[in-house]
Every structure is written in structure tokens, then in C-alpha cells.
């Protein structure tokens, strides 16, 4: 009786409905039903849409990709459009773009964990997978951009018969460490997060082969309190380290540019610029991936409209910071009084060859992003999907404008030139896109795409201490 009165009292004191936090999972499923729902896609029959998406992606990944790769490696960098003075072309543009896509994944899974955002649990795993696969694609580009890919091992401090060592004063050398670390750490983080979920799939497996594979992957996980105790600690530590990586890897990519003397690159704002641009681009990709998958995998109750709203808001915030940086860049170019700097920035918008890309980046990253202010847009999935695609295009244009736009007209007019990507540049990009989506679809089909145990852990009934749900879930009972 006393309890009932207490509940009434609490309900009266609770904030009004519009101020209450949306539940992480809609429909209040029981823990068992939630487990069924979250593992259903990995266990069920492969739907038709999966094949329709997978086959073209697999074609790009297994035919176009190796063709372009091998032709370039066997023939030389000359098959690309790169030439003096534009020595960094689509290969570096795509490298930065892929690193960028990776960053939002780490931000969602690591930084939002540290800030105790429970809503991240349902999309964290998918974001991490995005990180791992896009870093793989990113890492490929510098490796083949060097021209003689069979000498890549010179980048590592390995004793060799010439007796020489890598030159550590160059940020390009730091990049080698940064990208490799990013790949290793994000893969570890992704894998470690999946161990308890491998155990879920192991315990549910029916066939012998399936049972054996998931038993091996779960490595004997029992879910005992002692294991969880160490696991949670390791998870927090990894989240902290991954958060550092969010801010470090793109900063170092930015340093590749700003330590050079080229007008348009030589700016102290570059590390921050690249980090925020990366995060912005990644949120765009997150929208592109989440919106179709939540519908087709039947996860609308788990990745709710409130989740999409939050991802869109984060895209808006990072977009606004990007806009501020554009403003700063142009202002400093004008204010510095440096004629070369002014020339480069003037030509980004009013030049001849690449002005369309310059205006595209203003149009998308500055103007289209503002649409996300409106709740109507944020609750319209089609609009969000289109904005997500546009953000990715816009950020690609930005990378192109920064890399090529600064190189093609440098200090001496005698050094001016043009850059046009060849079919091999574009083919390789299509190949990496195919490889990314192929890996992603395989992940969605075969691995736990949602962190099952994490989502269960933030359900109201998972807290042993309160009867109403309460603080842990923002009043959601």
C-alpha cells in the first residue's frame, strides 16, 4: 500500500511528458524477448534485400577493386591523374575521407560511453563496425600512394641492409603510427565488445558448426561477476583510449598538411578542422547506414526515432563547428594579407577549374546542414537519409578542394597545372566503397550487430535497486 502511494507521488513529481527522456528501447520488451529480437537477424534466413545489396558490393570489392589496385601497383602511380604540381590527388582525398567516416563511429561508441549516454548502446556496435571497415579502406591509400607498394616496409622501423631508419621528424611518419594504431585499437575495442554477445549467440546456436564457431569466438565467456568486473574496467579504459584517438588520428592527418608551406594548407587550425570534419562526415555516414538497416532488420523499436534525432543533432553541431572553421579560414586568409593565401582562397570560390566543388561544399556543409535545425526534418527519415548522403558528398568535395585546390596553383605560375582523376582513380574509389559495404553487410548478417548485453544492461529492469526505472533511464519505467 505504501508503495502504491509512493508511485503516485513520484508520478506527480515527474517532469512533463515532453521533457522526459525517450526510452532507449520502445515497447518495454522483457529481457528474453529483447534477446530474441536483437539476435533474430543474425540467426534468421537471409532476406532478399541483403542479396540485392551484397552482390553489387561484392562485385565492386572483388572485381573492380583488385583490377584497379593491381593495374596501379604493376604499372605505377602514373595511371592515376596525379602529376606535377598536383601530386596528391584522389588517393589522398579518399584517404582523409575514409579516416573521417571512421571517426564518428569511435565518437559514438567511446566518447558517448564516457559521458554515460545510454542511448548509444543500441547503435554503438554498428558505429564501431563502420570505424573498423573504413579505417581498413583508409589505410590502403597511403600504402599504394607511395608508388612502390613493395617498399612499404621502409615506413616501419625495421633494420635493413641500407642501414637507414624512418625519419621521425615528418608528420607523414606519425601518420603511419596513427593509422595503424587506429586500426588495431578500434578492432580490439570492437572485438572485445562482442565477446559477451558471441556468448549469447553461442548459447542460442542450434547447428553444430554455428555452435563451434561462436564458442571459439566467445573464448569460454561465462558472464560471471568476476569476468564482468574485469570486463567493465577494460571497457572503460578502452573507451578512454579510443576517445583520445578520435582527437589524435585526424589531428595528425591535419598536421601532414599544416606543417607544409603550401598556401591553403599552412594553417594552425588544420588539426581541429580535420577532426571536426571527420566527425561530421561520419555522422552523415551513420545516417546513411542506420536509416535503411533499422527498417529492413526490423529494429525500429530499438534504434528509435529518438536515436535518429540525436544522431542528426550531433551532425548539426559538428556541421556548425565546420561552418565556423570555414569562416575562420577565409577570414584569416584575408586578414593575413598574404597574397598567395588570398589567391588560393579566392580561387576556391571564384576560380575556374574547381569552383563547382567549392560552391558544392558551401551549399551542402553550410546551407543543407541548417535544415537539421527543424524537428520536422529530423523526424523525416527520407530527408535525413538524403542529408546523410549529401553530407558525405559535401565532405568529399571539401577534401578535394583542400588537397587539389591548394596544389594546382601554387607560388610560381610556371608551376601551375590541372588535375583530373582518371578511370583508375575513380575505379579504386568505387572498389573501396564496395569493399566497405560488402564487409558491413557481412557483419550485419553474421555478427551481433547490436550490443545485446549492453542494451539489456540499460533496460529499467536491469537495475536491481529501483522499482520505477527512475534515474538510470530518465524516468522511463
Amino acid at each position: 500500500m505504501a508503495e502504491a502511494v509512493n508511485i503516485e507521488e513520484l508520478k506527480r513529481l515527474a517532469p512533463p511528458a515532453e521533457l522526459q527522456r525517450a526510452p532507449v528501447v520502445e515497447g518495454k520488451p522483457s529481457l528474453g524477448a529483447l534477446t530474441d529480437k536483437l539476435s533474430a537477424f543474425a540467426e534468421g534466413k537471409t532476406p532478399l534485400w541483403w542479396w540485392i545489396l551484397f552482390l553489387p558490393a561484392a562485385f565492386a570489392a572483388t572485381v573492380i577493386f583488385p583490377t584497379c589496385l593491381f593495374y596501379q601497383v604493376f604499372t605505377g602511380v602514373g595511371v592515376w591523374g596525379n602529376n606535377h604540381p598536383v601530386m596528391w590527388g584522389l588517393d589522398i582525398v579518399n584517404f582523409i575521407w575514409w579516416v573521417g567516416v571512421a571517426h564518428a563511429g569511435t565518437l559514438i561508441s567511446a566518447l558517448l560511453f564516457l559521458t554515460k549516454q545510454h542511448w548509444r548502446t543500441t547503435i554503438g556496435r554498428m558505429a564501431e563496425a563502420m570505424t573498423v571497415f573504413s579505417v581498413m579502406m583508409a589505410g590502403l591509400y597511403p600504402a599504394i600512394h607511395v608508388g612502390r607498394a613493395w617498399f612499404d616496409w621502409f615506413m616501419f622501423p625495421v633494420p635493413n641492409s641500407n642501414g637507414n631508419w624512418p625519419q621521425f621528424k615528418s608528420p607523414l611518419m606519425w601518420d603511419v603510427f596513427a593509422v595503424n594504431t587506429y586500426l588495431v585499437v578500434s578492432s580490439l575495442f570492437w572485438f572485445m565488445g562482442m565477446i559477451p554477445d558471441f556468448a549469447v549467440l553461442r548459447d542460442r546456436a542450434v547447428g553444430r558448426i554455428r555452435k563451434t564457431i561462436f564458442s571459439a569466438l566467445a573464448m569460454g565467456w561465462t558472464g560471471s561477476a568476476r569476468q564482468w568486473h574485469n570486463y567493465e574496467k577494460a571497457y572503460v579504459v578502452l573507451c578512454g583510449l579510443c576517445t583520445l584517438l578520435v582527437f589524435t588520428v585526424s589531428s595528425i592527418v591535419g598536421l601532414d598538411f599544416c606543417t607544409s608551406q603550401i598556401a591553403g594548407w599552412h594553417a594552425t587550425i588544420f588539426p581541429l578542422y580535420f577532426v571536426i570534419g571527420a566527425v561530421f562526415c561520419g555522422f552523415g555516414m551513420m545516417l546513411v547506414i542506420l536509416i535503411p538497416l533499422r527498417k529492413w532488420c526490423g529494429l525500429e523499436g530499438v534504434i528509435t526515432m529518438a536515436h535518429m534525432d540525436k544522431v542528426a543533432k550531433l551532425a548539426l553541431v559538428s556541421g556548425l563547428i565546420i561552418d565556423y572553421i570555414y569562416l575562420q579560414e577565409f577570414f584569416i586568409a584575408w586578414y593575413s594579407g598574404d597574397p598567395y593565401e588570398r589567391w588560393v582562397f579566392g580561387h576556391r570560390l571564384f576560380g575556374h577549374t574547381y569552383l563547382y566543388l567549392g560552391w558544392a561544399l558551401i551549399g551542402i556543409n553550410v546551407c543543407v546542414t541548417q535544415l537539421l535545425w527543424f524537428k520536422k526534418i529530423r523526424s523525416n527519415l527520407l530527408a535525413l537519409f538524403i542529408i546523410g548522403v549529401l553530407i558525405n558528398c559535401g565532405m568529399w568535395c571539401e577534401r578535394f578542394v583542400i588537397v587539389v585546390g591548394s596544389l594546382y596553383q601554387e607560388f610560381l605560375p610556371a608551376n601551375w597545372g590541372k588535375y583530373m582523376p582518371t578511370i583508375w582513380d575513380i575505379g579504386l574509389y568505387i572498389g573501396t566503397l564496395g569493399a566497405f559495404f560488402m564487409l558491413y553487410l557481412l557483419f550485419v548478417k553474421f555478427l551481433p550487430m547490436i550490443a545485446i548485453s549492453e542494451v539489456k544492461g540499460v533496460m529499467p529492469e536491469a537495475d536491481p535497486h529501483h522499482k520505477l526505472g527512475g534515474a538510470k533511464n530518465g524516468g522511463h519505467s
Binding site: 603510427f177 561465462t222 561477476a225 568486473h229 577494460a234 579504459v237 598536421l255 539489456k456
Partner: protein, 179 residues
């Protein structure tokens, strides 16, 4: 093949139920027991007096090791074994060394955290006696299992069994240790 008793397990339906039962087991003076749950139960580590996990220290050791190694490596490569002047900069200095060393600190820390977690949890392991129980498969779903080990000083099959039943545990069963 000899079959020994590994322990006794009892099943509970909710985090609150298993936490209350765990408190009573602790108060009864048992020391070798564990709780198997689908997700970490907050407060369980306090009840079990697990203290602070050592994973953080393993991670720190990994990070510190990599940081110092890369610092030393860069000094060895660029200042000792093959001194090279680039842009008139010193052979060895903080700005050029810190960034790669810091990045590799993150790498060492992350690898240390994973290895520490696996090592302290004694993973990977091929078998655990509790895997033989059919009902254990529900732990990764929505059941919560308490297990009191046979090596506990207070363990007695009949008494511990009735004790677990008195706590409200369902399906109290003997877990065999198969050698």
C-alpha cells in the same frame, strides 16, 4: 574418468533477486561463490568484495612500456645509429618524439587492457564445468545463476542446497567437475 562435485547452482529471475541472494550468501560466510548474469549487475562487485580490477594497471603498464620504447627507438634511429639533419632541426627533440610515442602509448594501453581482461578472466578457456548444465544457456538470455563452489570451507551438499532453496533459488542443481 572421475566425477567430482564442482559446486551447486541456483537460478534467479531478476537482478534484484540475485543481488539479495548474493548478500545473504556473503552474510552466511561463504567465500568461493560466483554469480553468472547476462549483463553486469551494479552492486554485485561490492557484495562480492572484488575491489578494484587490476586491468587498469595492466593497461598502464602496456602504455608506459610502448611510450618508453618508442621514445628510445626514435632516439636510437634518428640521433644515435644514423644521425640525420632534416631542416636544421635537432637530432632528437620532444616535439618530434612525443606524437608517435603518445600514439603508441594508446596502442600499448589498449592491447594491455584487452590482454589484462582476458588474462584476469582466464580466457580463452576451452571448458568450464558449468557449460555442461543445460540451464546455463539461459544465463546469456534472461536468467541469473548463483554458484557456490565445492571447495568452499562451508560447503556441504545437503545444507548448501537447502540454503540456496531458502534464498528463493529455482532449479538448484549439482554441477559436476569432470576430469
Amino acid at each position: 574418468m572421475s566425477e567430482k562435485i564442482y559446486g551447486l547452482m541456483a537460478e534467479f529471475d531478476s537482478p534484484a533477486a540475485i543481488l539479495q541472494a548474493a548478500e545473504k550468501i556473503r552474510d552466511a560466510g561463504y567465500r568461493r561463490w560466483d554469480a553468472f548474469t547476462p549483463f553486469p549487475i551494479h552492486g554485485m562487485d561490492k557484495v562480492m568484495k572484488l575491489g578494484n580490477s587490476l586491468v587498469g594497471w595492466v593497461s598502464l603498464a602496456g602504455g608506459a612500456f610502448m611510450f618508453s620504447q618508442i621514445f628510445g627507438l626514435i632516439w636510437f634511429c634518428n640521433a644515435f645509429d644514423y644521425p640525420l639533419i632534416v631542416g636544421g632541426k635537432p637530432m632528437f627533440s620532444m616535439p618530434m618524439t612525443f606524437v608517435p610515442a603518445y600514439i603508441m602509448l594508446i596502442m600499448g594501453g589498449a592491447v594491455g587492457a584487452l590482454i589484462g581482461m582476458l588474462g584476469l578472466n582466464q580466457l580463452p578457456r576451452l571448458h568450464h564445468p558449468i557449460f555442461a548444465k543445460k540451464r546455463f544457456e539461459l544465463v546469456s538470455r534472461d536468467k541469473f545463476i548463483l554458484l557456490i563452489g565445492a571447495q568452499d570451507e562451508k560447503f556441504c551438499v545437503t545444507e548448501t542446497k537447502s540454503f540456496l532453496e531458502s534464498l528463493g533459488g529455482a532449479h538448484v542443481e549439482i554441477v559436476e567437475d569432470v576430469d
